[in-house]
Amino acid sequence: MVEAISNGLSGLAAGTLHLHWTNPVMIAIGCGLLYLGIKKDFEPLLLVPIGFGCILVNIPLADVMGEGGFLRTIYDAGVITELFPLLIFIGIGAMTDFSPLLQNPVTFLLGAAGQFGIFLTLGLALLLGFTQLDAVAVGIIGACDGPTAIYVSSQYAPHLLGAVSVAAYSYMSLVPVFQPPIMRFLTTQKEKNIIMSNKGIKPVSKTAKILFPLVMTICGGLIAPMGLPLIGTIMLGNLMRESGAVSRLTKASENEIANVVTLFLGLSVGATMAGDAFLNPKTLLILALGFIAICLDTVCGVLFGKLMCFLSGGKVNPLIGAAGISAFPMSARVVQREGQKYNKRNYLLMHAMGANAGGQIGSVMAAAVMLSVLKGMGII
């Protein structure tokens, strides 16, 4: 009887007795992510479930990521199958208005320039000894797009999924912090003060708005077939939005589906952050390279903006180049605020939105191109 009670009580202590040093560290990191999401409002929709998933997976003996564990079930259902990021992309497409890009198509070039950070960081990762597929997963943090980063890393470097996702979402929320100093450093006072008028920008026809996602899907898919799931889903969402014919599906995509999938995806990503896998020097290197990738995106975007300024005879304010990343619409708002700091008469928002929308497509195309090139090389 006493022995039975003793054995029962020891079962209650088993979790604590099996704690490895990495577990409390990761639990603290999970709490840190919760703090960033709840208190600091840093991408809370993702960081809260990621943080909580991280805490759950680091409680010993609970085995939530083991065979039959509930997080394993969710992970296998939506991350291994790549379903979760693609479903979120449908919602993102349904929420995105590409009109500023269609009204000012040249800003699409800024969206392309803003992706160079991905490729530069990929090269840097290769130089630092990462394998080709790991380097791709690290470079894709520069896409500044959570679903794209998760899609690529879950498929080709699943052991890096936790680090890549945390880096991607954390740095996205820090865009208003690290972009302004780069913008200030790279532009002259004269360039900062360039006023870009919104007069003469014509509204986009409904036909154009409907044709755009179709053309992007077909052309993008033909150029980079490996990225078709990414391009196709964001454009499906956008087509549903612009057609107006399936408003119930559009609303469900941007609300119920996106919210449920975001919750499951966040938990799944957090569940990959087991201490023994996450706590190693490679993770710190990934976080550092991810930061470099997004900074390089901003640098390349602003430098391309300076080139456009030169070629246009001073009509383009290079600051809008910083919006050529996929952090939509946050980056465009950063550009608007920065532009008005130097000239209160300057309203760069519409132009920056064009670049930002271009960046959203650019990041998807960059991932698609990378994957298709890897496929062509026989690596995947």
Binding site: P100, N198, K199, I201, P329, A332, R333, Q336, Q340, K344, R345, Y347, L349, M350, M353
Partner: protein
């Protein structure tokens, strides 16, 4: 000499921060314009007296639409 203050982009006037007859200085805040789900301040391009307010809060405006006349 009159100065017109026009909407810099399409959006909705969320708030008017002055009244007709108010004296304003250059760069004083005149109104809040919501565009692309962002609140943007509209500033006085020159000092003077607000002669006329051509819009009201809650109204949608287009690029170039006159919002204020300052004398």
């Amino acid at each position: 000499m009159s100065v017109t203050v026009e909407a810099p982009m399409p959006g909705k006037i969320l708030a008017i921060k002055v009244r007709a007859g108010d004296t304003v200085k250059e760069d004083d805040e005149l109104a809040v314009l919501e565009a692309m789900k962002m609140e943007n301040l509209i500033y006085a391009p020159a000092g003077g007296t607000v002669k006329e307010i051509k819009v009201e809060a809650g109204q949608n405006v287009v690029t170039g639409q006159v919002i204020f006349i300052i004398e």
